[in-house]
Amino acid sequence: MPQPVPSPDAPRHGGALRPDTPVRGPARPGPYVAAGVLVAIGIVLPLVVPIYARHDPELAGMPFFYWYQLLWVFIDAGLLFVAYTLMRKEDRRRRDVVRAAQGSGPGSHPPRHAAATDAAGDATEDGGAR
C-alpha cells in the first residue's frame, strides 16, 4: 500500500514551498469547448421541465414524463463518456509535452514511456482490487 501522502500544507507547518513546475503543457481550446458543451447539455436539458411535463406519448403504459427522464440517465452517461474521452486524450497530450521537455535527450523516448505508464495505470485501476 502506498505510504500516506505526507505533508499537509507547507506554509501551515512552516516548510518551504516547492518550486511550481508545470505538470501539463498549454491547453488547446478545442477539446475543452467541445467537452464543455456536452457537459452543459447534460445539466441544462434534463432541467427544462416544460419539454417533458406531459402524459403522451406513453411507453409501455408509462407516461412520457417518467420514461423521458429515465432516458436521460443513458443520454447523460453517453455525453459524459464522450467528454471523458476528449479530456483524457487532451490531458495525456499536455502531460506528454511536459515529459518530453523534461526527459529530452538523445535515445530516450519520453512520450512513449509516458503512454505506456498511463496504460498500465488504467489497467490496474480497471482491474479494481489489487
Binding site: D20, I43, F65, Q69, L80, Y84, T117, E125, D126
Partner: protein, 573 residues
C-alpha cells in the same frame, strides 16, 4: 441525497381515510428476519476483516487519516463505483423517495431522478480539480482545502462546522431508514421500548466497532455486498411486480386516481402524476440545488478523495448514473404500492408512508426474497452512516482540533482522535433517533441540505479562482445560512400546521416558488461578489494562498505527489 428528505414532513397529507384498524401490532416475519440477520452477520464479518484489506502489516493499525479516513487514497474505479453508489444512494433515500411518490406524487419524489442525473456532469467538472489540489497538499476535508486556499481559520472553520452540522442529522436519518425495515419485520411491536430498540442499537454498535477498526475500507467493502443486493432486489421487483399488478398502464392509472383525489384536510388534491406549470420551477430548482449540494457534503468528498487517480472520479461520473436508473424504478415502486393497496401501518397504528416499500416487498415476495430486499435497505443504512461518521470526525480532527486547538498534532494522534470522534458521532445519532421525535431529524436534515449548499461558493469558486475576498465569502455564507433557516422555518405544513413543512418557498417579493436552498445560494453568491468588489475598491488586502495553479492539475504520477518508491509501486501493480 438531501432535499428528498424534505418530503416526509408533508407525508401526513396522505389521506387518513385509508388507515385500517390494524392497531399497529405486527407479528414477526420469521423467514425474512432470518435472512436479514444472516446477511447482517456476513456484512459484519466483512467489516471487521476490512482493516486487513490492502494494508501492509505495519499499517494494520491505520495510524493516519490518509489510511483510516481515506482508505489509503488508493481506491480504483470499481471500488469507487460501489463506494460512492453506497454513499450517495442511502437507505433513507430508498425509503423516502418511494414514500414521497406514494403520498404526494412526482414533484416531491421523482425530482430525485433529474437530480441524480444532472449531478454527474457537475461532478465531472469540479471533482478532478478538488482531487488534484487535495492530493498535492494532503487535504482530507473540504475545509482543509478552503483553509489552504484562503488562509486564516475563520472561513475554514465555518465550512467545517457547516459540514458537521449538516452531516449529523443525515446519519440519524440512516437509522430512521433502518428502523422502517425493522418495523416491517415485526421488531418494535413489543411492549418494552428498550427491547424494541435493541436491534437498532446492536446494529449500530457493531457498525461503530468495525468503522473504528477498518476506517473507510469497511464501508467500501460492505458497499459491494449492499449494492449487489439492492440491484438484485430492484431488478426482480421491476420485472415481476408490474406484471403481477396489471402492467405499468394500470399502475399509473391507480396512482393518478389516488393523487388527484381531494384530501379533505387541505381541500386540495394530494399531489399530481405530472407536475402542473406552477410546480415547474420548484421541480428543476429542487433537482439542481440538490445536485449542487450533494458533493459539498463531507461524506461525498471523502469518497472522491479516497480515489487513486485524478481521472477515477471522472470515469465514475460516466457509470454512476446507473444508480439513478435504479433510483427511478425504486421511486416508481411507490406507485406500484398504490396499485397493490399496500398498507404501511406503523407500530402506533398510524399510516407511516416510509414503510411503504419495505411493506410492499414483504407482501409481494416469498419471505426469503423479501428478506434479501429488506436486508439490502438495512445494510444500505450502514454504508453511508459509516462514511458520514468518518467524514464528520475528520472535519473535527483536522479543522477544529488541529486548526484551533493543537496545531502540531501528529498524524498518528489525528487518526486516534478521528476514530474516537466517529464513535461519539454515532452514539449521538442513535440517542437522537431513539430519544427524540423522528420529525426533528427530518427537519434538521432538510435544513442540512440548505446549509451545505452555502459552502458551494467558497469551495467551488476556490477551485478556479482566488478572486473572491474571504471575508466577503464568509458574509455571503452567513447571509445564505440565515435566510435559508428562516425561510425553511416559515414553511408551514397545511395539514399539520407545523413549521419546516417542506423545502419550497416563494422567492421574496415574487410568487415564484423554488427550492429554498437555491434562493439562499443566489443570495450568498451575490453578497460574496458585491462584498469582494467593495473590499477591492477599498484596497483591502487578501492574498494568502498556499496553493498554486499547477496543484489543481497534478495526477498520481506527478513527482510532487508521489511518495511511493518505484519498486514498491511495481510490487503493488
Amino acid at each position: 441525497m438531501n432535499a428528498v428528505l424534505a418530503l416526509p414532513a408533508s407525508l401526513s397529507l396522505a389521506t387518513p381515510a385509508d388507515v385500517p384498524d390494524a392497531g399497529g401490532h405486527r407479528s414477526i416475519a420469521g423467514g425474512a428476519l432470518v435472512v436479514v440477520i444472516l446477511l447482517f452477520l456476513v456484512v459484519a464479518a466483512i467489516g471487521f476483516l476490512a482493516s486487513r484489506w490492502r494494508t501492509s502489516s505495519e499499517e494494520r493499525g491505520l495510524h493516519s487519516l490518509d489510511e483510516w479516513g481515506l482508505g489509503g487514497r488508493g481506491f480504483g474505479s470499481w471500488v469507487t463505483w460501489f463506494l460512492l453508489g453506497g454513499d450517495l444512494y442511502t437507505a433513507y433515500t430508498f425509503v423516502a423517495v418511494p414514500a414521497a411518490m406514494w403520498a404526494t406524487g412526482a414533484v416531491s419524489g421523482f425530482f430525485a431522478v433529474p437530480y441524480t442525473i444532472v449531478l454527474y456532469p457537475i461532478v465531472f467538472i469540479l471533482m478532478s480539480r478538488l482531487w488534484s489540489v487535495s492530493r498535492s497538499h494532503g487535504y482530507v476535508t473540504p475545509a482543509d482545502f478552503v483553509g489552504g486556499r484562503y488562509g486564516g481559520k475563520v472561513l475554514s472553520t465555518a465550512i467545517a462546522v457547516t459540514g458537521i452540522v449538516a452531516t449529523m442529522p443525515y446519519i440519524a436519518l440512516q437509522l430512521v431508514g433502518m428502523k422502517a425495515v425493522l418495523t416491517v419485520l415485526g421488531l418494535g411491536s413489543g411492549s418494552n421500548s428498550f427491547v424494541n430498540d435493541l436491534p437498532l442499537i446492536i446494529a449500530f454498535v457493531v457498525l461503530a466497532a468495525y468503522t473504528y477498526t477498518g476506517g473507510l475500507r469497511a464501508p467500501a467493502l460492505i458497499a459491494v455486498v449492499k449494492d449487489l443486493l439492492i440491484y438484485l432486489a430492484i431488478v426482480v421487483a421491476v420485472i415481476y411486480l408490474p406484471s403481477k399488478f396489471g402492467g405499468w398502464g394500470s399502475i399509473f392509472g391507480a396512482a393518478d386516481h389516488k393523487l388527484s383525489t381531494t384530501n379533505p384536510a387541505t381541500g386540495k388534491p394530494a399531489g399530481a402524476l405530472i407536475p402542473g406549470a406552477t410546480s415547474f420551477n420548484a421541480y428543476w430548482t429542487l433537482a439542481l440545488g440538490s445536485a449542487m449540494a450533494l458533493f459539498m457534503y463531507p461524506h461525498s468528498i471523502t469518497g472522491v478523495l479516497a480515489t487513486k487517480s485524478r481521472n477515477t472520479i471522472r470515469r465514475n461520473a460516466v457509470v454512476l448514473p446507473l444508480y439513478s436508473l435504479m433510483l427511478g424504478f425504486l421511486a416508481l415502486l411507490g406507485y406500484v404500492a398504490i396499485k397493490a393497496g399496500t398498507m404501511p401501518v406503523d407500530t402506533n397504528g398510524k399510516i407511516n408512508a416510509q414503510l411503504v416499500v419495505p411493506q410492499l416487498f414483504l407482501d409481494s415476495f416469498p419471505s426469503w426474497f423479501a428478506g434479501v430486499a429488506l436486508a439490502a435497505i438495512a445494510i444500505g443504512a450502514l454504508v453511508p452512516a459509516a462514511i458520514m461518521s468518518i467524514a464528520a470526525s475528520n472535519l473535527f480532527t483536522r479543522n477544529i482540533y488541529r486548526d484551533l486547538i493543537k496545531p502540531d498534532v501528529t498524524p498518528r494522534t489525528e487518526a486516534k482522535i478521528s476514530k474516537l470522534v466517529s464513535l461519539l458521532v454515532k452514539v449521538g445519532a442513535l440517542v437522537f433517533v431513539l430519544g427524540m421525535d423522528q420529525s426533528s431529524a427530518i427537519n434538521l436534515q432538510l435544513l442540512g441540505g440548505i446549509w451545505i449548499l452555502q459552502t458551494f461558493p467558497a469551495i467551488v469558486a476556490g477551485l478556479y479562482t482566488r478572486w473572491f475576498n474571504k471575508w466577503a465569502l464568509l458574509v455571503g455564507w452567513a447571509a445564505g445560512m440565515v435566510y435559508g433557516t428562516i425561510a425553511a422555518y416559515d414553511v408551514v405544513n397545511p395539514a399539520t400546521g407545523k413549521h419546516f413543512g417542506g423545502s419550497i418557498a416563494a422567492i421574496p417579493g415574487t410568487h415564484t416558488t423554488v427550492y429554498i436552498g437555491v434562493t439562499a445560494f443566489v443570495l450568498n453568491a451575490v453578497v460574496a461578489t458585491v462584498g469582494t468588489l467593495v473590499l477591492r475598491a477599498f484596497k483591502v488586502k487578501d492574498t494568502a494562498d498556499s496553493t498554486r495553479s499547477t496543484d489543481y492539475e497534478v495526477d498520481e504520477d506527478d513527482v510532487r505527489v508521489q511518495p511511493v518508491p518505484e519498486e514498491l509501486r511495481a510490487e503493488l501493480s
